[in-house]
Structures are given as C-alpha cells and as structure tokens.
C-alpha cells in the first residue's frame, strides 16, 4: 500500500497544499518497493527529512519493464496513432499548467531553487516542452526513395520499444519533460529513474500522466539509487535504449553496462567546463550580466554553467569590478523568500563537494576574490564565489564544480584563448562576447561545443538542439533532433518485379 506525502505551503510567495502518492508507479498503480524499503527526502534549505518515498530494487525494474512491454505491444507503440498521442500530451501540458504553482513549490522544496525561478523558468519551460512534443507526435515522417518501377522502397520511423530514462536533480521537472516529450511523442514506453535526491515533482507528474489518460504501463517511475536501479536499467536485456543526464563518470558506467548487456542504444548528456570568452570589444555591461547568469544561475548547478570566464586584458579590471558588484547583489536566502535569487545547494553531498573544490582552489594558490564560504548555519547555502589568479592545471579550472563558483581568467591573445577554451575533455557549451559579429561568429565556429552562444549564455530554446561534443555526451536533445533518439528506422523494400 503506497504512502501519501502531504505538505502545506504557507510562504510569502505561495500558499497551498499538495498531496500525492510516494510509491513506485508501475502499470498505472502506486506500489511499495519489493524490499519494502524507503528513501529519505531532505529539504536542502533546512537539512531535515521531509518525506519518505518507496525504494525500487532491480526486481522492480523487471516488473516495470514487463508492464512497459505489454503496453507497447497492446495499447501504445504502433497501436496508437500519432494524433491520439498528440492529444494526450497536449492534455498533460494543460494539467501541468493548472497545477503549475504547486509543481513550482514542490520543486523549490525538494531541490532548493527559488520558487520564483521554479515558476518562471523550470515549470514554464517544462509545460512548453510537453506542448512542443505534443505537436510532433502526428508528424513522424519517413521517406519514400526512388529506386525503379520494380521496387517500392520506403523507411518507417518506428518507436524503439521500452526505453530507460535516468534524470538528474538539478532541473528535476524540466529534465523529466525533456526525456518523456520526445519518447512519448514517438510512441515509446518508459521506465524512468528520477534522482534519489529530488523525486517529488516526478511523483506528482505520475498522477497527472494518469489523469491525462495515458494507458497503464506507458510511463513507469521507479524511485531508487543509481547503483541499484540505474545499473539495472542500463544492463537490462529487455530495455532497448537508455537515455541519461548526469555526470560524465556515471555516463561511462551506463555506456559500459549497455555494451556488456544487449548493446542497447545510448544517449548521454553529461558534464561541462564551459568557457565564456569576453573580448575587449564586448558590450561590457551586457557581458557582465550574462556572465553572472552563466555562472550563478541555478546555484551554478547547470551542465552548461559558464564556469571558466576568459576576459581580455583590455577590459579585465573593469569587468572584474562590475562582475564582483553584481555577484554581491545576488541575494542568497530561503527559496520561498520573495527576494531570494539563490537558495541552498541541492544536497549535503553536493555542498561538501563544492566546498572541497573551493578549498582546493585556496590550497593550490588561487585568489578568493569573493565569497568562498558557507552562508548561514542551517541548510546547504554557499555564498557566490569568485576565483582569480588561477593556472590552467588547477582543479577548479579543469574539473566541473557544479556550484556558485566563477573562475575568471585574464587573456590577451585570441588564438591562445581559443586553444585554452578547447583544452578540456568536455564540449557541452561555450560563449563568446564581442560586438564584432564576424569575429564572434568565427570564434563560435571554432569552439568545440554542442552549443555556442554569441552575446548570451545559458539560453535554451525548446526547438533548438542541445547536446555535447567529446566527453560531454552522445546525441542531441530538444528540437526535432530529439525524435531521432527514440525512433528506429526500418527500411521496407517491396519487390514488385525483380525475378531471381
């Protein structure tokens, strides 16, 4: 019998109640985990446990896969036309819109981001994402190829089948929609593992998905740990595809498990150590504002965080002064306080990790230009931190910190900065600031990154593809491109005249 989580929000920015099942969602029902164990969910603003959710085991993965396969063979997959899939996804988007504030509040409670960001960014874009993919569902086209009159050849873009999806804790709801949008639009059935740190909005979504009318087994949610549930999904012999967003380290494990099991299709969205190159001829004030957004949005917990900021020497001092001022004005506080910009980091583990990186920066001789310390005494709050006077070999320059830490690096030579920018195993995103558009475009084209921003940073559009070069990932999400991750191409060749 699945438990219910109930919470009353009584805050300056949101008052309301939420109440939903916290069991595993398999085949349209909420159930306990096979071992009947639970996972504690912590509010990072206080460090206190606020909920317990069911814990899935590899056995539950088997059960979910069976339910998903059954749905795929009977009520979903090629048994339901695109316009019907479109209708259900559009219905889901409408339901999310009706419950947008509730979802935003839950996200803020679970992840620590401010209610304001959750409302205006996360949930708003999540709704648009579902709506966008609802529009693709009845537009899955194959091709007819010209051969000769003795042959009819055409390609079908068929759904793959049962897909595994493993999503992170930094944008829990948004990442859920990036994954389920294209997968459901193309007719696949899903076994999803949300982050064990932030499963609450995913659990609430199960009820909305049910209410929208998706047949049982089409979407299944298993709250659980990476090392058990995530590993089981990656190595499952009956899951034909796995999609993962998270760290590069875990991405490797998933790909390895896929290779060792059934060579399932793999798409990965991994980490980044994204360069932001600011030339002397940049619009300085704009460059400062975007760079701050690049480093500190979502508390620095974005795979695309512009965490290495290269500033040309001609504007370095002025840039640093303005950048520091802007950082000082970022209000760190309770996610539900009206003027908070930045809440706590998402978990103790993350907090510890970031503080270790900050310490390593100090130890390796970088200058702490701002911050570098905890904020307050309760919860996982870290002050916006700026490091200067770094060298390329420092940990804070090479490794992904995933916290509110900006590293500002002075440069002079254009060729050299492009070399430095590309000198990383990662290749997720990059940004260039210059009012000379020719130079900006040429630089952007030379940066080895899946997204190259010119005169902006960290702007995502649902219809524009997103993904990484090099060790930042495999495959693209968003836009029409995401559909390719979830379709299998079958070429049908009909002989109408060749005689053997």
């Amino acid at each position: 019998m699945s438990q219910i989580f109930t919470h009353e929000f009584n805050t300056p920015v949101y008052k309301g109640k939420t109440s939903f099942h916290t069991g595993l969602y398999i085949n349209g029902k909420f159930v306990e985990g096979s071992d009947k164990t639970t996972i504690d969910i912590v509010n990072p603003a206080t460090g206190k446990v606020i909920a317990k959710v069911a814990e899935a085991t590899p056995k539950d993965v088997d059960i979910a896969v069976e339910a998903a396969q059954k749905a795929f063979d009977t009520t979903w997959g090629l048994n339901m036309g695109g316009s019907e899939r479109s209708r259900l996804l559009a219905k889901l988007a409408r339901l999310m819109e009706e419950h947008q504030e509730e979802l935003a509040a839950l996200e803020a409670l679970d992840n620590g981001k401010t209610f304001s960001w959750a409302m205006n960014a996360d949930t708003a874009v999540a709704i648009d994402t579902i709506r966008y993919y609802a529009g693709w569902a009845d537009k899955i086209h194959g091709q007819v190829q010209e051969t000769d009159e003795k042959k009819l050849t055409y390609s079908r873009h068929e759904p793959i089948g049962v897909v595994g999806q493993i999503i992170p804790w930094n944008f829990p709801l948004l990442m859920l929609t990036w994954k389920i949008g294209p997968a459901l639009a193309t007719g696949n059935c899903i076994v999803m593992k949300p982050s064990e740190f932030t499963p609450l909005t995913a659990l609430r979504m199960c009820e909305l998905i049910q209410e929208a009318g998706f047949p049982a087994g089409v979407f299944n949610l298993l709250t659980g740990y990476g090392s058990t549930v995530g590993a089981a999904i990656s190595s499952h012999m009956k899951i034909e595809k796995v999609a993962f967003t998270g760290s590069t380290m875990v991405g490797r494990k998933i790909m390895e498990a896929a290779a060792r099991s059934n060579l399932k299709n793999v798409t990965l969205e991994l980490g980044g150590k994204n360069p932001n190159i600011i030339f002397n001829d940049a619009d300085l004030d704009q460059a400062v504002n975007w760079a701050v957004h690049g480093s500190y949005w979502n508390h620095g917990q974005a795979c695309t965080a512009g965490s290495r900021i290269f500033v040309q020497s001609g504007i370095y001092d002025e840039f640093l002064a303005k950048f520091t001022d802007r950082c000082r004005s970022l209000k760190v506080g309770d996610p539900f306080a009206p003027d908070s910009y930045q809440g706590p980091q998402a978990s103790k583990a993350q907090y510890d990790r970031i503080m270790e990186f900050i310490q390593s920066g100090k130890d390796q001789g970088a200058t702490v230009h701002l911050g570098g310390d905890r904020n307050g005494t309760e919860g996982y709050y870290i002050n916006p931190t700026i490091f200067t006077n770094t060298t390329p070999d420092m940990k804070i320059v090479q490794e992904e910190i995933f916290g509110p830490v900006g590293v500002i690096i002075k440069f002079e030579d254009e060729e050299d900065v492009i070399r430095q920018a590309n000198d990383t195993l990662y290749g997720l995103a990059a940004a260039v600031f210059s009012q000379n558009i020719t130079r900006a475009i040429n630089t952007a084209h030379r940066l080895k990154a899946g997204t190259a921003w010119i005169n902006c940073v960290n702007q995502i559009h649902t219809n524009v593809p997103f993904g990484g070069f090099k060790q930042s990932g495999i495959g693209r999400e968003l836009g029409e491109y995401a559909l390719h991750n979830y379709t299998a191409v079958k070429a049908v060749q009909v002989n109408l005249g060749y005689v053997m």
């Binding site: 695109g82 316009s83 479109s86 209708r87 559009a90 648009d128 709506r131 966008y132 609802a134 529009g135 693709w136 569902a137 009845d138 537009k139 086209h141 009159e149 009819l152 020719t438 475009i441 040429n442 084209h445 649902t462 219809n463 029409e480 009909v494 109408l496 005249g497």
Partner: protein
C-alpha cells in the same frame, strides 16, 4: 446593416445568433460604400434564413489594409511560433466547445446532415487547426555549407504576408480550417472571402477568433460575390498570395488577375472528374461500398467525387448489381432528420445545373439504371443517379457535374483502364480496387492524379498532402506541404572572411 440576427432552427426549436457585418480588425462593421446584402438560403426548404452584408471592392481594400498593418506590427515576424501555436490551439478548443451549434448552422445553410457536419466536417477542422498549431513552433530553415572560412549561408522560412483566401460552399467550415491553419501557423495574415452561398459559419467562426485572442487584423472575413470580392482580392496590389478552392473556370480568372496585377503567388484547388477502376481481383462488395461513398458522400458535391467508374469486363455485371443495390440504400433528405445520409444540393443554381447534366445524359443515349427521376417537393433534393453504356464523348463523362450522378464504363485490359482514367484534363483524385499488389503499384504509379486511393476512396488525413495535377490545381494543401504554400524562402549569405578586390583578377 451590420448587426446580429437570430436565425430560427425550427427542427430544434431554437435560434442561433450570427453577426452579419463584415469582420475586419476583430469587429463586425457595415460596408464602407455599399448597401448590398447577400441572402442566405436553407436548401432543404428554399427559404431565406438570413441576410449578410455584401463586401465591396472598397471593403476588400479596408480588410487588406488591416491585414497588412497586423502583419507589420502584431503578427508576421512580430509574433513567435509559440504564441501562434497557443492561439491556434485555443481557437480549436473553442470550436470544439461550440461544435454542436456550428454544425446546426452549417446544416441550415449548406444542407448536410448535422451529425456529419459535427463529427466529420468540424471534427476534422478541429484536428486540422491542432495539427498546424503543432507546426507553428517548428518552422526551420537550413544551414548550408559553402566555404567554412568565408561564408555562412542559411535559409529563413518567412511568412509570405497578406493572403487572400477564397473558399467554396461544399465544406464551408472544413475548407475554412484547411486555409486558415497553415497560413496562421507560419505567420501570415488573412483576408478570407467565404462563399456567398454559405457565409454564415465563417462569420460565426470569426466571433471565436476574437474570443481566442488573435490580434485585430490577423484574420478578416469579407463575405462578397465572387466577381466583386474574389476579383478584388485576386487583383489587389497589396495581397501577396491568393489561395482558392472552387471551379476550374474561376481558378483561371484568379490566376489571370494575379498575373496581371502584382504576380502574387497562387495556389488553386479546382475541379475533378475522378475515376475509380474496379479490377477483376477486387473485393467487389468493398469496392461497391467505396464507390457509393465516392459519389454519394456530401451528395456528390466533392471535388474528388468518384464520378466515373470503369469496371473490368469479367466482373462487370456482378459489380453493377452490387453497386446499384448499395447506392439504393442512400437516404437523401433534410439535414435535421437523423435518418438522412446526404442532404439537398446547396442551391437552385446547382440543382438546375445537375439536372441539366442528367437530362443531357439521357439525351446523349446513356442508360439510367438508378434514379434520374425528379422529386416534386420543396428543397433541392437529387437522388443518386447512375448511368451505364456511356462513352468518352458524353458531357456526363467529360464534365464535372458536382452532384450524385455516376457514369460507369467498362474495360478489358489494365492498359485500357489507365487510358480511360487518365483521359481528362483534370487530375485531382483516382481510386483503384485490386488485390494484386503489383497491379496496385503499377496502376497507382500510372494514374495522373494528386491523390490515388488503393482499395478505398475519399478518405483524407490532415497530415497527408492533397491537391491536383493538370487542370485540377496548383500546389498542395494538408500535411507539411501546405506550409510551403505560405512560406517565402530567403537565403542569407553572410560573409565571414572574404575580401573583395575590384576589378576582379581573372
């Protein structure tokens, strides 16, 4: 004159209110310079049910100006695909909400059965709007590799601009949605001239356009006589594109006017004399059912009406028997009567025209095996009529009748069948019935028609393109293809490294 009327619906003991003015800039207004009205009839009773303002050429000017202003300020490149999608979905929701009433109004003015209007015409229209709402935020151009060191080249798919849309009376609401949806999806603004025979539902839909939240001037509705409003739109110097569905004869006039004025883009969905071929391996019972649908659906008032059927000799007699008894089941009657399968013809003019053809068929020596008898009652009712023993020179075989009148011929070989089918200046639809897969493939390849149906007929889907070959039309509606009709491609060549020396060194 521009006010709201309440149209009584005696069969349902209710009234439907309709605004009778011209819909320009989100308001219903009188004509600027004319007191002419258009009378709307109920074809089942031959009675006038309402009068609406008849737009003049000057009114078209006003509407075009409104559409142009909207294109430059609140629509066109000033609105995102997301917003267009949102508004279109809202409109679809509102039409769904009011589907029953819209269906009743459609039946009053057009004659088709209420359930058909609601579940097929309007049901498909709602789907059409939602389908194109889904395209609105997916308009993409290409990036094209030329030379990475010196050139960035890409295409922008821009909205064409102000579009004149002229729609017919056979599927008023459905044709409205086919035109409006792709145009709105890519960002065009519209001056719509509904048919002067059936303007009422277009006016009612205009009320929903306001409720959905479209900015003023994005969609304008100007009921008007073809030679007045239609001609004015086709020749207008500030209309960027005209899209027309109707007769081939009018299509020519529109294309001529477009050529003579500003070379505006033209897309045309015109007439047809669409053939169905019944081969000996066909499932005859099914073929007969689809053939009946082909000529009786919408009482034959369909551009793809399967109005010529050619049957292979070996199954001819058997098929005729089955077909006649199948078609005999068709009930033509008042659209508010639940047992009616098809309504009256839409107007006296159409009624007289169709009877002219039936009389001509008899006069030219074709044999009537079903129907062909006048009812002597009120209403423009024509019962399904089947002619056999026809030849290719007869009027009833060559010309589009647009009524429930079918001509049946015969053939020996596949080659003969294809030749008979293609022997027409039209090329809109064609059907073939056969269980020989290779034959299906060969024949579907050889038929000169924009839509070929294999073992069915007249079933369309919003995501599959539709249009004519030969004199049946120019361009395609439905599917992703319709977007191209409303998109203008701009290629951008962006120099990122080339320095030019003049004079050129050769």
């Amino acid at each position: 004159m521009a006010h709201t009327v309440k149209i009584p619906v005696p069969a349902l003991n209710k009234e439907i209110s309709v605004s009778t003015g011209l819909f320009i800039n989100n308001e219903f207004v009188p004509s600027v310079d004319s007191s002419e009205v258009i009378q709307c009839f109920n074809p089942a009773t031959e009675e006038v049910i309402a009068s609406v303002v008849a737009g003049s050429a000057k009114d078209i000017d006003v509407a075009v100006a409104a559409a142009r202003t909207a294109f430059k300020t609140t629509w066109g490149k000033n609105v995102t695909g997301w917003e267009r999608s949102r508004l279109m979905n809202k409109l679809a929701d509102l039409i769904e909400r009011d589907a029953q009433e819209l269906a009743e109004l459609e039946t009053l003015n057009n004659g088709k059965p209420v359930a058909v209007a609601r579940d097929f015409d309007i049901g498909d229209s709602i789907q059409c709007l939602r389908y194109y709402a889904g395209w609105a935020d997916k308009i993409t151009g290409q990036t094209i590799e030329v030379d990475n060191k010196s050139k960035m080249a890409f295409t922008r798919h821009e909205p064409i601009g102000v579009c004149g849309q002229i729609i017919p009376w056979n599927y008023p609401i459905n044709m409205w949605s086919w035109k409006v949806a792709p145009a709105l999806a890519v960002g065009c603004t519209i001056v719509m001239k509904p048919s002067e025979i059936t303007p009422l539902t277009a006016l009612k839909l205009s009320e929903l356009v306001v409720e959905a939240g479209f900015p003023p001037g994005v969609i304008n509705t100007v009921p008007s006589l073809g030679p007045v409003g239609g001609a004015a739109l086709s020749a207008h110097p500030d209309v960027d594109k005209v899209a027309f569905t109707g007769s081939t004869i009018t299509g020519r006039k529109i294309m001529e006017a477009a050529a003579k004025s500003n070379l505006k883009k033209v897309s045309l969905e015109l007439g047809g004399k669409s053939p169905q071929l019944i081969f000996e391996s066909a499932d005859l019972k099914q073929a007969a059912a689809w053939s009946a649908l082909g000529i009786c659906y919408n009482t034959g008032q369909d551009c793809t009406a399967g109005s010529r059927i050619y049957v292979q000799d070996s199954v001819y007699d058997k098929f005729i028997d089955i077909l006649v008894s199948t078609v005999k089941e068709t009930v033509i009657g008042d659209g508010f009567d639940k047992s009616t399968g098809g309504g009256p013809l839409v107007s006296k003019a159409q009624f007289d025209r169709v009877w002219g053809y039936i009389d001509a068929g008899k006069a030219e020596g074709a044999k009537v095996v079903l129907g062909g008898e006048r009812r002597n009652t009120k209403g423009y009712f024509v019962d399904p009529t089947i002619f056999t023993d026809v030849n290719s020179d007869m009027k009833i075989v060559k010309e589009e009748i647009f009524g429930p009148v079918l001509s049946i011929g015969r053939f020996k070989t596949e080659e003969e069948a294809v030749a008979l089918a293609n022997n027409t200046t039209y090329g809109l639809g064609a059907g073939l019935h056969s269980t020989d897969a290779s034959q299906c493939m060969r024949v579907s390849g050889l038929l000169e028609a924009g839509t070929v149906w294999v073992n069915q007929y007249n079933v369309l889907s919003n995501n599959v393109p539709f249009g004519g070959k030969k004199q049946s039309g120019i361009g395609r509606e439905l599917g992703s293809y319709a977007l191209e009709e409303y998109t203008s491609i701009k290629a951008v060549h962006w120099n990122i490294g080339e320095k030019l020396q003049w004079p050129l060194s050769l």
